[in-house]
Structures are given as C-alpha cells and as structure tokens.
C-alpha cells in the first residue's frame, strides 16, 4: 500500500494550476503530480506513490549504503568488491 517506486522525471508542466510531470519507470511513462516536490528538476529521480512524487532521491545518500557495507567488510576482502548479482527469488 505504501509502495513507492523510484522513477526519472522526464517532463514538467502545469495543469489546473498544479505542477505535473511525466516519470519513467523502466521504460513506462506515467503522469505524476509534483505538488509535493516543487523543487524537482528534469532528469532527477523521484519516489512515486499513488500518482504523487513524495520525495526527491538524494543521489549522494543513495550511495551511502555501499560505503557502509565496505566499512563493515573484513579488512582482507576490502576493495575487491565482487560482481553484483541480484538475489534470486
């Protein structure tokens, strides 16, 4: 229900006095209301929930988790980050 999907903002326009935009999710374009992320710029990523962008993804923070993981690694393994492989399900 609280699903929020990250997508790339590809178009910005106004409708009924409301800032609107088109957001791309893996090739699919959807119309999104930008009233809650008025600062969003073309090309930026937003988290979308029920047709509203609820946040701008902070690109630097998005990388944080990977440095966090590097820091917890055993000293021997550090640096040789293995090839990424997605979890199977």
């Amino acid at each position: 229900m609280c699903l929020g999907i990250p997508g790339k903002l590809t178009e910005i326009y106004q409708r009924n006095d409301m800032p609107m935009g088109k957001v791309e999710f893996g090739g699919i374009l959807k119309e999104v209301c930008l009233a809650y992320t008025p600062e969003a710029q073309l090309g930026q990523y937003v988290v979308v929930h029920v047709g509203f962008a609820i946040s701008l993804i902070d690109e630097a923070e998005a990388e944080e988790i990977f440095s966090y993981i590097e820091e917890i690694e055993e000293p021997g393994v550090r640096g040789q980050r293995a090839k990424r492989r997605n979890i199977k399900f």
Binding site: A35, T37, F52, I72, A82, R84, N86
Partner: protein, 373 residues
C-alpha cells in the same frame, strides 16, 4: 531499474547478514511495521538469511488489513447506490465485509472503479456531473497527502459531486499500542520508510525514549531491510534507544513539509478502530470541519453501520505480532487468497497472504513460526 536493482545485490546482502551475525550476542525481536517490508522479507527470504537469534515480527502496517469490517460495510452500502461511482485502490475490492465484498457489488452491477491515484477519482467527478463520485480514502501517512490533495482539488474545481469515505490510519499510535500491550515481545522497530518520507522522524523520538526501544526508519529493498536490522541490532546490543534513518535517500528528518501542510489543512487526528485490534486513541485521520461536506459517510448517511469481525480470524493477533499466520487454524484451508476470511489474506502486503504465497510449506529451522516454539 535504477535505485531498485542495486539494492538487491546478493553479495552485499551476505556482508550485511555476516555483520548482523557478528554483532548479535543475544536473541532479539524486531518488528517491521510496514506490510511492504513484510512482503519483501518473505519474498526475498530475508528472515531465513538472518541468524536464528533475530526474530522478525510482522507489524500492523497494512492499511487494507486494518480497515475495520464496518467501514467495508459502509463502502459496500455506498457503492450499491444507483447514483454512485465508487472509486478505490484495487486492494480493497476483495476485502470481505459482513456479507460480501466490493467486487461482488461490481458483479451485481454496481459502479465500482479501480483507480491508480485519488486524482483519477477527481477527474471522474468532473466528467460525470450527474453522478456522485466517492473515493475510498484509505492508507497511512504516505497516502494521506495524495488523498488530501484530491479533496483540495475537488473544492478548488467546485466539484460538489465528489466525496471521500475516510479510513486513514497513523503509524506512531499503532507502535504505542503494540508497546503498551502486556504481551508485547517487540524490542526494536523498523519504521516504514515512506511514512517517514512524509512525516519525518520527530514523532518517533518520544516513543523511543518512553519505551526504551530503538526505531530505524527503513526502506523496502533487501539491502535496506538488512541494513535497518543491523542498525537496530547495534543499538540493542549497545543498550541505545535512538531514532535513526536507514532510508536516507528518501527520508529527511523533517519529512516533506509541503505534504505535511496539506494533510494538516484537510485532516485532523481522531480515534480510529483497527481491524482485529480495536480502537486506538488518535490513530486515524478525519476531514476537518472546513471540508466536512466532502465526507461520504455523512452525505450517504451510513454512519450508523456497525459489524462484528468473523470469530475464526485471528488477524488481531497476527497484526500485533503475537502469532504467525500459519498458526491460524484457518490458514491455507478455510482462508486462502481466493476465499479470504480476513483482510491480511487479501492484500499482497498482508502477512497471511505473504506467508501463503512464499511460505506455505514449513521450511524447518528457518521457519519463523517453528523457531519460536
């Protein structure tokens, strides 16, 4: 997809699991509040990757699951009216009311429409001036700004044929209710990342302090959840009870000020009944006086409807983390996603449906239900 795939990296997940293992010295019970997290935990079998001493308890964070049966009955009564187009998120259509569900109303000829956004319902009201368009406004703080904006927009456009049946719920009072229960097992929380994206984390500080529990605002991908667990376990092991943010790419400490403002403008906190749990003080949102004319319950006089939940369903116990879905005698037999007895079997984020889909067979040692016995 960007910002999704990289957070499903198996090697990084292993490293986080290892770190959790080496940090854990005692058994800990951690509740993930949000149904979206529950779904991801079961889907990616994250609970089975974790060391045996960490137990994840699935919380009440599925708005579909906690919407009380009497609100479903009200929705059904309104949707059955000939002049009404009843709009809802898809999940709600199969939630059983006392006698039927919204899907049955639709098959009986009622105008029930699934919408992706509440703004679609506003647009429908504009296109159908001779009909009453009613939107079923459910959800947590994540959805409240969208639903509030639909009301603001209808009011701006002068759409008097639009109204909302409001069943909004709030997370912090639910966490308090879980912690205040004498049977509470939960020692730390993963708070819901998208709820906190809207509200920020300030409301959680008094809870962490009063009950001495760590609370970590956590995202929804496997690495997010595992990092959230690690941050929570570190706090537990160090004897800290702070509010931290794991999901920093979306959650700012102050939340989303524009969204908070619109919620504040349209809604006010009220006591709300939760399915299977009962009434929790100030745990819901209702329209403010200023927008009272958009209240569907008043407009269609369904306020008086009350109903009891089916006795067999132990959803209340499941939603408070006291029992796992497959400890319910009806699980997988009299209650399945095709014929759900209770709401947690309907929504894909409901704990019962997630167990039915991913964990129907007991997986032995890793089976979270068996582990507790």
């Amino acid at each position: 997809m960007k910002y999704i795939d990289e957070y499903r990296d198996a090697v990084a997940a292993k490293k986080l699991v290892e770190a959790i293992r080496s940090t854990t010295t005692r058994p800990w019970n951690i509740m993930e509040v949000c149904g979206g997290q529950t779904h991801a935990i079961l889907r990616f079998a994250l609970d089975e990757m974790l060391p045996g001493r960490i137990t994840l308890i699935h919380g009440p964070g599925c708005p579909v699951c906690v919407t009380p049966i009497e609100i479903i009955d009200k929705a059904i009564a309104i949707a059955s009216l000939p002049e009404v187009i009843f709009c809802s998120f898809g999940d709600m259509l199969r939630v059983p009311g006392s006698e039927k569900d919204l899907l049955t109303v639709k098959s009986e000829g009622g105008r029930v429409r699934v919408v992706y956004s509440p703004m679609d319902a506003v647009a429908l009201a504009g296109k159908n001036p001779d009909r009453e368009v009613v939107f079923f406004a459910i959800g947590f703080e994540t959805t409240a700004p969208a639903n509030a904006m639909a009301v603001v927009q209808a009011s701006k456009l002068g759409l008097d044929n639009f109204s909302v049946l409001v069943a909004h719920v709030l997370v912090p009072p639910a966490i308090r209710a879980v912690l205040s229960s004498p049977e509470n097992l939960v020692q730390g929380f993963l708070a819901a990342g998208h709820v906190c994206t809207i509200t920020g984390i300030d409301q959680y500080r008094p809870i962490a302090e009063e009950f001495g529990v760590p609370i970590v605002a956590t995202g929804f991908e496997p690495l997010d959840i595992l990092q959230g667990v690690l941050m929570c376990v570190r706090q537990l092991e160090e004897g800290r009870a702070d509010v931290e943010i794991q999901y920093t790419r979306s959650v700012r400490p102050e939340g989303n000020p524009a969204a908070r403002k619109t919620i504040e403008e349209v809604f006010e906190p009220v006591p709300r009944k939760w399915r299977g749990i009962g009434e929790i003080p100030m745990s819901g949102l209702a329209l403010r006086e200023k927008y009272a004319k958009y209240d569907a319950a008043g407009r269609f006089s369904v306020e008086g409807i009350t109903a009891d939940e089916p006795a067999e369903c132990i959803a209340g116990e499941v939603l408070q983390g006291r029992r796992k879905p497959h400890e319910c005698p009806a699980f997988g037999t009299r209650c399945t996603p095709d014929r759900p007895l209770g709401a947690p079997m309907v929504s894909s984020e409901g704990a019962c449906a997630a167990y039915y889909r991913y964990r129907r067979k007991c997986s032995g040692r890793a089976c979270p239900a068996c582990r507790r016995k």
